[in-house]
């Protein structure tokens, strides 16, 4: 039926082509007839390639064929097997017919020749009276004889000199056959030693005759031959040529009969094939039905659906395919499930992740707007997480997060969802809930968390939480706004002493500040769209030479004419609202473009770029760096990527791999603010970074504080031991610079060295000449 509908569709299209030549119209009519015959007819049309005939009728026909081809039914396995079977049967049949024809013809000819020899031998005897004796019946005998054999077309007797003495054409046919020429007869009579000196010619005058001719010899004993008769010896005889016999044999009746038989046989064979083909088709379809049944599951699989299984009964080959398909589907389902979990769940806690939660939030907002009920978004922040994490390490922090997630999950209704939003922040969506119920739930959660104790390494911690609540109603505009409200409410709860929950309220100074944060996020998005970010460059000088060797790229946001906002103002909001990756990508892209321009202008600069944990851990940083390096034609070693110590050690194995991979491009890495966070020297050994930026808190009092001096000295020594360079941040004055020189710190950065500026400053710093640097770098 599908074929018929396609055929009708095509015919309708053909009708619209009014300028078609006759061939195209004829083809369309022919195709319509065949198509109306149904699917089978259409297949026959396809096999017969009727369209090619139409195509050969002209360009319009060819165009018609091209237009029609997409409508042509696809190849079918059963059809091809049947076609192959049919071709094979036709081939074998043709071969058999040709073989039968050839063999039969040969057998007829051979048989007839043997009969011819016999007939001519007997006619030789019967013709004896023609040459010698008077016999009234001599002609009658010959005629009777040859009339007995319809294969004998004619007979002629010649005298020894070639004169015809008798001829007879029993069928009154072929009586125009030429006589044998004297030369021919002479050739025939050359051999008198054998009575069987026959000569055969296949055709006579283009007629289906075979001529057999034979000389007639007589023999007689020699004069005294009979007196010395010896039967054991072959005696010499006297021979005499008497005449010749010519016999014409006609194979046509046999050949005609043979042709009739073969035609009848062929027709029967074709009829048998015609009957057999659909029967074979039924058998083939039945045999291949399990294979055909795989089509639909495969189509479903191609569409991405995997919620099916294939029946595995039938032939073992089909069972193998079905098993393989089921295994594939199972594997795909498992993979999909894993991918779904990876995409939608937090790998640490198993809770819904931020991305999935955001999607659900959008759906919930729409649902609320549609159904006019209320839901609530809870923003939960663990109050003691940072303490646990800093004192007991990340592993303990991770365990705390998992247990806290479980605790929160147990405290909500089944239809509600909880997600890990990031760090120690969780979000909870209470669907279709009244505000009074929200209060009950929140109070319960706070109480549960208050009662919850985290045990680790012999210590017990109370992990209270602060919860910010934002109600979702039909006025809720966007998830970002809702999250901001919940976040602000959470901050309000924290500011009010933690271990409590607060609803978002539009009044109050704190709320205003938080509202300002929301304003920052909108500003950041606007800056990204309108390119309102500005790059400034702060020099980093070589402590030994005082000359700038690197420039740290620092971000500013232009909020008005000649009004630049430092990153501290907007980056927290960017991080909170998930915009850090976009900001990082903007910085990388624009910094590299700027560096390319500087280098093109002859300034051989090296930039250090700050990248956030978001892009380092989640996004394709490698691809971003590689793409921009290529786009700007920059040497990779001209880029140093700075990551904070917190980011580096959060997952040190992953970070080490990420750094190693990007380092293969040729870029360098620096750990920023080293010493301010977790400050484990072990990290220095594990992380394949090139630079250590010593946190400014150790530098600003370096000249006067012995402890800071000792710390910086030890960091410098460890860096030397691990073949890393050190950079001192926030260098305030020459005295500090001098101490850095003494402590063999490699580079210095700060207001004393150079303030951030719109353009890289080439200004050098005076180097203390009274403090020789005895340090010698150890080899290796």
């Amino acid at each position: 039926m599908a074929t018929s509908s396609r055929s009708r569709e095509y015919i309708n299209r053909l009708r619209k082509q009014a300028a078609w030549p006759v061939a195209g119209r004829l083809y369309a009519a022919g195709y319509r007839v065949l198509a109306n015959c149904g699917r089978f007819g259409a297949r026959i049309a396809g096999k017969l390639r009727i369209a090619e005939v139409a195509a050969s009728s002209g360009q319009a026909g060819a165009a018609a064929w091209k237009r029609m081809r997409p409508l042509w039914p696809g190849r079918s396995l059963i059809g091809e097997i049947l076609a192959l079977q049919l071709c094979f049967a036709l081939f074998v049949g043709s071969l058999a017919i040709v073989g039968l024809w050839w063999t039969s013809t040969w057998a007829i000819e051979d048989n007839l020749k043997k009969w011819g020899e016999r007939w001519i031998s007997e006619l030789d005897d019967l013709g004896v009276p023609l040459y010698t004796a008077e016999d009234e019946d001599k002609y009658l005998r010959i005629e009777n004889y040859i009339n007995s054999f319809p294969e004998i077309s004619f007979v002629r007797y010649y005298s020894s000199v070639g004169e015809v003495i008798f001829e007879d054409f029993p069928l009154q046919e072929n009586d125009q056959v030429a006589y044998m020429e004297p030369e021919y007869l002479a050739g025939l009579a050359t051999d008198s030693t054998s009575e069987k000196s026959f000569m055969l010619e296949s055709t006579l005058n283009d007629s289906p005759l075979v001529r057999i001719s034979k000389p007639i010899w007589t023999e007689s004993y020699l004069d005294d031959g009979l007196l010395g008769l010896d039967l054991t010896d072959e005696q010499d005889v006297r021979t005499e040529l008497v005449g010749f016999i010519e016999l014409g044999l006609n194979f046509s009746s046999y050949q005609a009969q043979l042709s009739r038989n073969i035609v009848i046989g062929s027709l029967l064979g074709i009829a048998f094939l015609i009957i057999l083909t659909p029967v074979s088709g039924i058998f083939f379809r039945r045999a291949l039905k399990p294979l055909s049944e795989l089509q639909d599951p495969l189509k479903e699989l191609a569409k991405g659906k995997t919620d099916f299984s294939v029946r595995t009964s039938g032939h073992r080959e089909i069972v193998a395919i079905a098993d393989a398909l089921n295994t594939t589907v199972s594997s795909l389902n498992e993979r999909d499930k894993k991918l779904w979990q990876l995409a939608n769940n937090d790998s640490l806690t198993g809770l819904m992740n931020r991305h999935k939660f955001s999607e659900m939030l959008i759906e919930e907002i729409e649902k609320v707007a549609r159904n006019n009920f209320k839901s609530a978004l809870l923003f939960v922040d663990l109050d003691q997480f940072k303490y646990v994490n800093d004192t007991l390490g990340h592993a303990a922090g991770d365990r705390l997060l998992k247990q806290a997630g479980e605790q929160l999950k147990n405290g909500i209704r089944k239809k509600d969802v909880v997600s890990r939003f990031g760090g120690d922040e969780f979000t909870i969506l209470l669907s279709d809930v009244k505000q009074k119920d929200v209060k009950v739930i929140c109070a319960s959660l706070v109480q549960d968390m208050r009662d919850y104790h985290f045990h680790e390494d012999g210590h017990t911690f109370n992990i209270p939480c602060s919860i910010g609540v934002a109600m979702i109603d039909s006025n809720t505009v966007s998830p970002a706004e809702l999250l901001a409200h919940a976040d602000m409410a959470c901050h309000e709860a924290k500011s009010r002493g933690r271990n409590r929950f607060e609803f978002y309220q539009t009044s109050g100074a704190e709320m205003k500040q938080m509202t300002a944060d929301v304003g920052w996020s909108q500003q950041i998005q606007k800056a990204l769209k309108q390119d309102l970010f500005v790059i400034h460059y702060q020099p980093i000088v070589d402590v030994r030479t005082g000359r700038p060797t690197h420039y740290e790229v620092l971000l500013r946001m232009r909020t008005g004419p000649k009004q630049l906002v430092p990153p501290a103002a907007f980056l927290p909001a960017a991080s909170r609202f998930g915009l850090m990756t976009d900001v990082d990508q903007w910085v990388i892209r624009n910094a590299m473009q700027a560096l390319a321009k500087f280098r093109a202008a002859g300034q051989d600069l090296t930039f250090t770029l700050n990248i956030s944990g978001n892009i380092f851990e989640d996004a394709d940083l490698y691809g971003c760096i590689e793409e921009n390096l290529k786009a700007c034609h920059l040497p990779p070693e001209s880029i140093i990527l700075e990551i904070t110590e917190q980011v580096a050690v959060r997952n040190i194995a992953t970070a080490a791999d990420q750094i190693a991979e990007i380092s293969k491009l040729g870029c360098k890495f620096a750990i920023d603010d080293f010493g301010a966070g977790y400050s484990s020297y072990t990290y220095l050994k594990s992380l394949p970074v090139d630079y250590i930026k010593i946190d400014g808190s150790f530098i600003k009092n370096l000249a006067t504080d012995l402890v800071d001096k000792t710390i910086v000295s030890s960091i410098s020594q460890i860096a030397q031991a691990t073949h890393k360079k050190t950079i001192a941040e926030h260098v305030p004055n020459a005295a500090t610079f001098k101490v850095l020189h003494e402590l063999e710190v490699d580079f210095a950065q700060g207001y004393y060295v150079g303030k951030p500026a719109a353009r890289p400053s080439p200004r050098s710093i005076p180097v203390p000449i009274t403090s020789p640097r005895p340090r010698q770098r150890k080899a290796g």
Partner: protein, 333 residues
């Protein structure tokens, strides 16, 4: 081997038949078989030979070829003219004679010539002034061998005698066919007389070739009981000879032949001349020479006796009945 066994069987059967008769009579004129000659088959000898009467001293005996039967006759003749001067010469089938033969004849200057075989007769014919008696020649008419001083001895034994014996063996024989070449009117007349004498209908066909002979024979077969095969070399060929005997045998006809070898092909009876009889006849003719070298007497002198052999199968079929009749007949002769 089969033929030898067949022949030996024939001889034994014939001997038994003769023994049963109790009076086997061997003509006095027939000398005992020479150790070095061909074995003489047991023969039914009939009339006693005539004593030879050599007339002249130098007799040349010409043999057509080196054939045993020719040599046997020459030997018989030589025995009978041993007191005369004679010379036996073999022409090796060459009627024109080799130079050496001609030289020998010239030196020998024969008064009489005895030619055995057609080639010898044709060679002797060249010595027109010398009386010649030929024998073992069937178609003498074709070669004008009969002249004033050239006479012959018949090739075949007396037909009447042949037919008499045949009738004794096959009393029901009524119709006999015969095929012969042209110019044999005298022979045919003699055979017809013999047939009339023995009340046998004779169907004679004169043919020109072996093919015609076979053709005629096949059409004659349904009409006859027996076929008399004559040694006319002009109308017989090896193929036709075999086919006639075979065809006749298949169709139940008895065939009388002129050579005992043909019994092995299916013929029933063989009648051949006896060498001594031939020799006697030759010398008898030679004895009729006049002073002017002309030879008196009939153109062809008949033989008086014959040798008969029968097919072993027929002997077995005849049994004692046939033997008794044959013995009785032999007694009469």
């Amino acid at each position: 081997m089969k033929r030898a066994i067949s022949r030996i069987t024939a001889l034994v059967v014939f001997s038994v038949l003769a023994g049963c008769a109790g009076r086997q009579q061997i003509p006095e004129s027939v000398p005992p078989a020479e150790p070095d000659g061909p074995p003489a088959p047991p023969a039914v000898t009939l009339p006693a030979p005539i004593e030879p009467q050599p007339q002249r001293n130098r007799i040349a005996i010409l043999l057509s070829d080196d054939v045993a039967s020719y040599a046997a006759i020459a030997k018989q003749i030589a025995q009978r003219i041993s007191e005369n001067d004679y010379k036996t010469l073999n022409l090796d089938g060459n009627a024109k004679m080799s130079a050496s033969i001609r030289s020998e004849i010239k030196q020998f200057e024969p008064d009489r010539i005895v030619a055995i075989g057609l080639s010898a007769a044709k060679a002797g014919q060249k010595y027109t002034d010398t009386p010649m008696v030929f024998c073992q020649v069937f178609n003498y008419q074709d070669h004008n061998l009969i002249s004033r001083n050239s006479k012959g001895v018949k090739f075949l034994p007396p037909f009447s005698l042949q037919l008499e014996i045949w009738k004794e063996l096959s009393p029901d024989l009524r119709t006999v066919g015969l095929i012969i070449g042209p110019k044999q009117e005298e022979l045919v007349a003699e055979i017809e007389r013999a047939a009339e004498q023995h009340q046998v209908e004779l169907l004679i066909r004169t043919v020109q070739s072996d093919k015609e002979a076979l053709y005629a024979f096949k059409r004659l077969t349904p009409q006859i009981q027996g076929f008399w095969l004559l040694p006319d070399n002009r109308v017989l060929s090896p193929t036709v000879l075999r086919e006639i005997i075979s065809y006749g045998s298949k169709h139940g006809n008895q065939t009388v032949v002129f050579n005992p070898q043909l019994l092995s092909l299916g013929a029933e009876i063989s009648f051949t001349s006896i060498d001594a009889d031939v020799a006697d006849a030759v010398l008898k003719v030679l004895g009729n020479a006049a002073d002017n070298d002309a030879l008196f007497g009939p153109p062809m002198t008949p033989l008086t006796t014959l040798r008969a052999e029968i097919n072993p199968d027929l002997s077995a079929e005849l049994g004692s009945r046939a033997s008794a009749k044959l013995a009785q007949y032999l007694d009469k002769n």
